[in-house]
Every structure is written in C-alpha cells, then in structure tokens.
Symmetry: C2
Subunit: 164 residues, 2 copies
C-alpha cells in the first residue's frame, strides 16, 4: 500500500463527520433561532447563495450551486416571493429566463443569519493560530475544487456504455 493511500485513508470518516455536523438541523435551527428568522433550511440556503453571488442569479444557476434540480428551487422561490424576500425579474438577455434578486428585507434577513453563523465560527476558531485559519481556508477551497473536478470526471466517464 503506497503512502498516498495512507495519507487519504482518514479523509472519508472525517468528511462524513463534518457532513453530519453541518447537515443535521442543529446548526441551522440554532442559527435561525438566534438570528430571529423563521425560514426552512433550503430557503435560507437560497438566500445565502444570492448574497454570496452579489448579483441576481437565474433559477438554473441557483439549482446548480445547490446541486439540486430546478423544480426544487422553484418551489422555495414561490414561498420566498410570497414573503417578499426575493423578486423575480425577467432576464433582459433571454425572455424565457428570470433573474432572482434579494429584496431589501431578504438582504436584511440573510445578513442577520450569516453574521450569527460567522460569529460562531469566529468563536470556535478563536484559539487557532492565524496561520492555521489561513491554511484551513486555502486547503478547504482546493479540496472542494479538486473533489468537484474528480466527481464530475467520474460521473462523465462512469457509464461508458451509455455515451453516445
């Protein structure tokens, strides 16, 4: 067994544990409560994505970034729009598409949420040396990027009998 395997053998359980931690409502529900927002998790995820993008996004683009399917996004957009947290404007470049933008109150809500969560992260990492924090960001970014590339390649080449 080569040393590369040894170096990555521990990755799977670590990532599963991290996923578990992030997935279960705990984090989200606590943050939602502390921030005073009453929104389900996928809806808040949409707001966070719009906030991070810094400009309006198409429905399909939101779906891609969430790694979910279009109709799922539509459903949550409907309820977000009813609550006036987002608006749909026609895309000037393509009349079929819509651009989704945060309303001021949507922006306000996502700001409250993210600042709550960021406060927790800051507290959790308060004892870390600066260098470790910097490295974590860098390695996490590269890990996500490399895993995405790897999985995309696997998905593309996964069923060679099916390609046409």
């Amino acid at each position: 067994m080569d040393p590369l395997s040894d170096a990555t053998t521990g990755l799977l359980p670590r990532l599963l544990q991290l996923r578990t931690l992030l997935n279960r409502g705990q984090l989200y529900e606590q943050a939602a409560q502390d921030a005073g927002v009453a929104l389900d998790r996928p809806a808040m995820t949409i707001l966070v994505i719009l906030d991070a993008a810094d400009h309006p996004l198409r429905v399909g683009e939101i779906a891609t970034r969430m790694q979910v399917v279009g109709p799922h996004v539509t459903r949550h957009l409907n309820s977000l729009q009813k609550r006036a947290l987002i608006i749909r404007v026609p895309d000037p470049e393509d009349q079929r598409a819509r651009l989704i933008a945060l309303t001021p109150s949507g922006q306000q809500m996502v700001d409250r949420y993210t600042s709550t969560v960021n406060g927790w992260f800051t507290a959790a990492l308060a004892q870390w040396p600066d260098h470790d924090r910097t490295e974590l960001m860098r390695l996490l970014t590269r890990l996500t990027s490399d895993l995405t590339t790897q999985f995309d390649a696997l998905a593309a080449g996964g069923t060679p009998t099916d390609e046409d």
Copy 2:
C-alpha cells in the same frame, strides 16, 4: 470589524459548498455502483461507522455518531440484518442493550466501498504536496472537534429559560 471575523467570514460558504458536494447522491451512488453494492446511503453509513469503530456498537451509539434519532437506526438495522450484513448480540453488561456487529459479508461490503472512495480521494489529492495533505487532516480534525464543542455549548445554553 476585527481581523478574526475577516478570517472566518469565508468559512460558511466553503462549508456549505462542501456539504452540498458530499450530500447529493452523486458521490455515494457512484461509489456504490463502482463497488458493486446495492444499499441505501444511511445503511452504508452505518456500516462505515461500525467499520471505523473497530468493535461492536450499541444502537444508541450509532445514532449519536450519525446525529440521528434511535428509530431511524433501528429501521436500517432491520434491513441490514435481513441481508445478513450485521448481527445483533445482547450486551453482556446490560440486557436491555444490543451490540451491533458487522458480519463477514458486511465487512467485505464496507471494505469494497471504502476502498473505492479512498481511491478517489487519493486520486483527487494526488497532486497535492505531502505537507498539504497532512495539514488538511490535522485542520479538518480540529475544525470538526471545535465546531462540535461550539454547537454543543450553544444547544445547551441556547434556551436558558428552559433549564431546570
């Protein structure tokens, strides 16, 4: 705004992206297919947990490690037992409890699965300098640990009006 905030502001979107990556079936389904296993994700998670523990675990312990609730584990154990991938043995220390152990075929299945996934990780990180891989493991371990501590504290102190 202090520098600590700046250093952790980017953590939320990064973790959300990683969660997205790990969550959506893609990874699991591809691995299950490549490894030739036909099992749903939570069932496989149970096998991975048992494998990582290296000794039989109680139902409650599995639930805790999965961050889910008891009945959810029971349901999957029933189907895993029907397929002879796990066995339930009475805990000698407490007749109420059961210890869940992998059968040889269960062990074989989880081995196939983990070696497939570890192979991907190894490939994805093949270009990384050794030092980065080591650091990733270390920082990921500490991150998970510190976040867990943080969230537990939040959950415990989250509703001070409720304490008694």
